[in-house]
């Protein structure tokens, strides 16, 4: 119910991410083919598709970890070009969570969290630590604040990574297969945190194979295959009545077990 309310709100909200005919090649390989996508403030978009379909490449283009070669990407009113100032401005507004966590292993959890607020946002240390502690409580591991990442389990590390991104108080959160590197018993603790985040109204793009999660939180489902966006639909339509044969095939494979 909360979802529908949010969806209605999203319809009237402003556009925060706009991809228009984005193309990208790796050498000869055409990784993204005319990808277009619009995300509104507060919208939760789940991107799925077979591996190698370009899902990760697409969201990595949004904060310029990958460079697109044709088309345009506008994030929060700023177009992504070679302009370093724009890139840094967008990156500080867009949080990202990686499949392999990518915590800084030489820094304690607390320092992982306060680093960017202190050096990018120029926040005083005490304030940054206060915010960090608050987000650690939200991801339910405040007691781990002064450990090193290597001393935590995978699920805990990923929750720290989510908290680290949130400490920059971003407007948008990108998740690149956040549970794919986790042992099965740890997936739920990470998904629970993400569900809570979704309920707080965060704009999210999530690349994932967790269809249960998608059904719970998504406002919009995006299916990609071979570098193309094949289908964009609401979860209800997507799971019950997909239009494309490729989507049907993918869903039958992924939901069969």
């Amino acid at each position: 119910m909360a979802n529908q309310a949010a969806a209605r709100q999203a319809e009237t909200a402003e556009t925060v991410i706009q991809l228009a005919d984005v193309n990208k090649w790796y050498g000869e390989f055409h990784a993204l083919k005319d990808v277009s996508l619009t995300v509104k403030r507060g919208e939760r978009v789940v991107v799925c598709g077979p591996s190698g379909s370009g899902k990760s490449t697409m969201i990595r283009c949004i904060n310029r970890l990958e460079e697109h070669q044709r088309g345009s990407i506008v994030v929060d009113g700023i177009e992504l070009t070679d302009n370093l100032k724009n890139i840094e401005a967008i990156r500080s507004e867009v949080g990202m969570v990686f499949q392999s966590f990518n915590l800084f292993p030489h820094l304690r959890v607390m320092d992982n969290l306060t680093l960017a607020p202190m050096w990018v946002r120029k926040m005083p240390k005490a304030d940054a630590e206060e915010i960090a502690m608050e987000y650690l409580r939200r991801v339910r591991i405040p007691e781990q604040a002064y450990k090193f990442p290597g001393q935590l389990s995978g699920g805990q590390q990923q929750r720290v990574a989510i908290a680290r991104a949130l400490c920059m108080q971003p407007k948008i959160m990108l998740f690149d297969e956040p549970t794919s590197a986790l042992d099965p018993e740890m997936i739920k603790e990470v998904l629970d945190v993400m569900i809570e985040l979704a309920e707080s109204g965060m704009t999210m793009i999530v690349v994932t194979h967790e269809m249960g999660f998608a059904k719970t939180v998504a406002d919009t489902m995006v299916f990609m295959d071979a570098g193309e966006v094949v289908e964009i639909a609401s979860p209800k339509v997507f799971f019950e009545n997909p239009t494309s044969d490729r989507t049907k095939l993918f869903l039958s494979q992924i939901l069969s077990h």
């Binding site: 030489h106 389990s153 629970d192």
Partner: protein
């Protein structure tokens, strides 16, 4: 929703609890009792061949040990002003060190001013020891401490003020000179090494080209050539009347040579950093220099610490190359002192002393680097 939220699961703690429970029921792991005899049987006499080797080695060690003991201690002359006493003895003549230690340690520096060098060395060693201790690892402490002690050491060694007689840098010698060259090499060389290592991996073509050219050309040339160029050739290119201090030229030459080798070691460390670390730092909006300083370098330097220390030790010993440009470091000073016809036959003892000085510094460096690795490993596993 509430029951969906997992309890604050510290899985590490629960794992410990689980092993604790297991330990109660199964008992502790079998402790190995290693007695001296058992250790010897396992490590020294575990096969006929190894037993023979062990006995052979023991025999040789005993033979040489006794020989050195007789020569170096039993029959040695420890103190005499008269070299004839040494001549009559069958053992070592350590008296040569007592007799000649001052020109060996302090070179050409005026004899009656040696006390200044002793104080300078004490200040230097104190500053270095403090620098190596973690409680001092703060900018607010390190920077003023080094400025003050460099000023004190400079005043003492040059003199010319406070009633101290002026001593030109070309008269510096012995251990203080070795320390000046070594410290200067590190202070100038290390930052250059880091910049070169980063430059070689830069995406900017000009920066990369400069780094590669410098590294490859410096590594292709012997240190002696670089010192010769710094001292004899470089001044020819300076405009008339302009002169850069010879000591400074030597130090900078050595520093650049050191930096070019060290840069390649550091580059090895940089290459070992996973791409994800760069991506995570970039995704947080950190600028290149912030990312490099806070995320990449601390990890890279840690990885290649053994290689870095290796080159630092080499740099310490490379200071002895200054003999070819007429500077008297501790080794060259000793060589020239040993020209004395009365004492020259005891050069072995003198060089053993110099070797011991080098060894103490290098061994301390190596031990310290192991300690640093232990500190860095504390509480971490990747």
């Amino acid at each position: 929703m509430a029951e969906m939220i997992a309890p604050t699961g510290d899985t590490a703690a629960t794992a410990i609890e689980r092993t604790a429970i297991a330990a109660e029921t199964v008992g502790p792991p079998p402790t190995e009792r290693i007695g001296a005899l058992r250790w010897m049987r396992r490590n020294l006499f575990n096969s006929p061949f190894n037993s023979v080797l062990t006995l052979l080695a023991l025999g040789l060690i005993t033979y040489w040990g006794i020989g050195f003991f007789e020569w170096g201690i039993l029959n040695a002359v420890w103190y005499t002003k008269d070299s004839n006493v040494c001549r009559q003895a069958t053992g070592a003549c350590w008296a040569v060190i007592v007799e000649k230690h001052r020109p060996m340690l302090f070179g050409l520096y005026p004899y009656e001013e040696h006390w200044r060098l002793v104080i300078a060395l004490v200040v230097y060693l104190g500053t270095v020891s403090a620098t190596l201790a973690p409680p001092f690892w703060k900018k607010q402490i390190l920077v003023p401490m080094w400025i003050v002690s460099l000023a004190v050491m400079g005043t003492l060694m040059w003199g010319g003020i406070f009633g101290l007689t002026y001593v030109d840098a070309s008269d510096w010698g012995g251990l203080p000179l070795t320390m000046v060259l070594f410290t200067g090499t590190l202070i100038f060389g290390f930052p250059i090494a880091i910049l070169l290592a980063l430059g070689r991996r830069s995406r900017l073509p000009a920066v990369k080209a400069i780094s590669v050219t410098l590294i490859e050309s410096m590594r292709g040339v012997p240190l002696i050539t670089i010192l010769f160029v710094a001292v004899n050739v470089f001044p020819l290119f300076l405009p008339e009347g302009m002169d850069i201090n010879k000591m400074l030229r030597v130090v900078i030459g050595m520093a650049i040579f050191f930096a070019c080798y060290q840069a390649e070691v550091i580059r090895g460390g940089l290459q070992a950093i996973p791409r994800g670390q760069y991506e995570a730092a970039e995704a947080l909006g950190l600028s290149y220099w912030r990312m490099t300083y806070k995320i990449i370098l601390p990890q890279a330097l840690r990885i290649c610490l053994p290689g870095i220390v290796n080159h630092i030790i080499a740099a310490f010993k490379n200071t002895s190359f200054v003999l070819i440009i007429g500077l008297f470091d501790i080794l060259t000073a000793t060589t020239s002192v040993m020209q004395d016809p009365l004492w020259r036959r005891y050069f072995v003892e003198a060089y053993l002393f110099v070797a011991a000085v080098y060894f103490i510094f290098c061994f301390a460096l190596s031990k310290y680097s192991h300690q640093v690795e232990r500190w860095l490993n504390e509480g971490r596993r990747f």
